[in-house]
């Protein structure tokens, strides 16, 4: 409960700071609109040439785009800004101001994961939900309660995998503060825009089991399209728990290496 109250406080404080710059809201609106436009137009162009690619048709691909936008929105809302403040460009580890963060009487991983909120990213969240709902309408009658439940479960696993990947790459900064590891994972996340099965075999394997950006979006979208096998679902859920544990372990190991910057 205490943690939820803290999250509420973080949200309130950082939102107040951001709400002072109203123009940013319209800029966010523009970027969100561009993101939506390019995403949807891409699918329109692709499916104007071909009815389905390797079993993926327009509604299924649109559902996947919705999941991708949703994960991206959550990353922009708090996971990204919170972790970037520690490990990004001019982050606390680089500058040495991480000392002050360590002194706070609360779990460090919790603190660095939930500190900063970008309230305007809620625009992205709304757009992504819009895309998802539209995709659900297109999929229409073929949906069952079982599919929706497995969708929600795998979506949760997708969020966990995204968080774990971002945390793990942020933790690497403890070993080499001058390299922008978080940029690498942000770049690779773009590959999650399309079903992992469309990539060549070698790449698809890497994106499934090594850097699981493929799993994050493909599995929930498969759950909606009804092509997800129970075995794959259980594997994904277990894998996301394992990824959370590994990322958290990596972060604690990194923490031991931290030795401030100057002074």
């Amino acid at each position: 409960m205490y943690y939820f109250k803290l999250i509420g406080a973080f949200f309130k404080i950082t939102s107040q700071a951001e709400l002072a710059h109203r123009v940013n809201f319209f800029i966010r609106l523009l970027y969100s609109g561009l993101n939506l436009l390019t995403g949807v137009l891409s699918l329109v162009v692709i499916f104007s040439q071909i009815d389905q690619i390797k079993g993926w048709d327009m509604p299924a691909a649109l559902a996947l785009l919705g999941v991708y936008l949703l994960l991206g929105a959550l990353r922009g809302l708090f996971i990204g800004p919170s972790l970037e403040s520690v490990s990004g460009m001019d982050g606390e580890i680089w500058k040495g101001t991480f000392d002050f963060t360590l002194l706070r009487p609360v779990d460090q991983q919790f603190l660095i994961s939930f500190r900063y909120w970008r309230i305007f990213a809620l625009v992205d969240l709304v757009t992504s939900l819009g895309v998802l709902i539209y995709a659900l309408v297109l999929l229409g009658t073929s949906l069952t309660i079982g599919m929706l439940v497995s969708f929600l479960l795998t979506l949760l696993a997708g969020v966990a995998l995204l968080y774990a990947a971002l945390l793990a790459f942020s933790a690497l900064v403890f070993w080499n503060p001058s390299f922008l590891f978080t940029w690498v994972i942000n770049d690779l996340f773009q590959l999650a825009r399309y079903p992992v099965g469309l990539y060549p075999g070698w790449l698809s394997l890497i994106l499934t089991w090594i850097i699981p950006v493929g799993l994050m979006t493909t599995i929930p979208a498969q759950a909606l399209a009804g092509t997800l096998s129970p075995l794959m679902m259980i594997l994904t859920l277990c894998f996301s728990l394992a990824a959370l544990w590994i990322a958290s372990w990596l972060f604690r190991q990194g923490l031991k290496k931290y030795s401030s910057a100057s002074s």
Binding site: L30, V45, I50, N186, D187
Partner: protein
């Protein structure tokens, strides 16, 4: 105008950027990924056959060349012009006995060298994996050179005049994001122009964005007939002149509005 000073500045800048190559390699990596995504999507769509006359091998050739061309024409400096105006850095440049555009040009040239150090080996490696099909002949290469140069000029001056709007509005950067989205949609990134729906093809052939990135590659891969190439060159040259005139006009009027405090 002091051209010798400009040349010294160019040399200086690229030598200092080479020292921070890790950062620039990351940027180049990030630009490469979206193009690779669409290369793989279209390869999956083409399968063993072809799509609108393009086989997997010719798609691979097109996109690998586009990765290089796109980085050669991408004007990174346009993103910093606005900041330099807002933070008053430009005051110092205005006092120097050469045109401030040399600062942008020096970063352009430095950038191209550093990005190519990363991208040429990586695309070479990718070419070994995905085996593109290219039949280059002398005439195509001869035509490619001016097309590439004009594409760079067009993209640079187009972005530069947009960025200079920072003299009037602090959020002119968002126009650059819009430009990037339009290049993605209409500049041959999402799909080779031939694969776009008919109306998008017409729009793409008229607006300047195709001439900033895809046009030189279309010439090099021999996708265009003599007449198409000729018309393309005319439109490209027209837009380049227009972009240059817009830059001059915005610069002359904008710099009169400029005032800075301190320094």
């Amino acid at each position: 105008m002091n051209h010798r000073g400009g040349w010294e500045l160019i040399k200086n800048t690229w030598q200092s950027w080479i020292q921070h190559r890790g950062f620039f390699f990351l940027l180049a990596f990030g630009w490469m990924l979206p193009l690779l995504v669409y290369l793989f999507i279209w390869m999956a769509a083409a399968g063993d056959g072809s799509i609108a006359g393009l086989t997997q091998e010719s798609l691979a050739g097109y996109y690998l060349l586009l990765i290089l061309t796109n980085q050669l024409t991408y004007a990174t400096t346009n993103w910093t012009v606005g900041d330099n105006i807002r933070y008053g850095q430009i005051s110092r440049w205005l006092l120097q006995p050469m045109s401030p555009i040399y600062h942008a040009l020096s970063q352009e040239i430095a950038g191209k060298i550093v990005f190519m150090l990363f991208s040429v080996p990586i695309t070479g490696l990718l070419a070994l994996i995905i085996r593109p099909q290219l039949n280059l002949d002398g005439v195509q290469i001869l035509r490619f050179m001016p097309a590439l140069l004009l594409a760079w000029g067009l993209r640079f001056f187009w972005g530069y005049w947009l960025a200079l709007l920072a003299f009037w509005s602090t959020r002119a950067d968002s126009l650059l994001a819009l430009q990037d989205s339009l290049i993605f949609l209409l500049g041959g990134h999402l799909a080779p122009i031939a694969l776009l729906p008919k109306t998008m093809q017409v729009i793409a052939r008229i607006l300047p964005f195709r001439y900033m990135s895809a046009f030189p590659v279309e010439i090099l891969t021999g996708q265009l007939s003599n007449q198409e190439a000729l018309v393309g060159f005319a439109i490209q040259a027209g837009w380049t002149v227009a972009a240059f005139l817009l830059y001059r006009w915005v610069w002359v009027h904008g710099v009169r509005r400029y005032e800075a405090v301190g320094g």
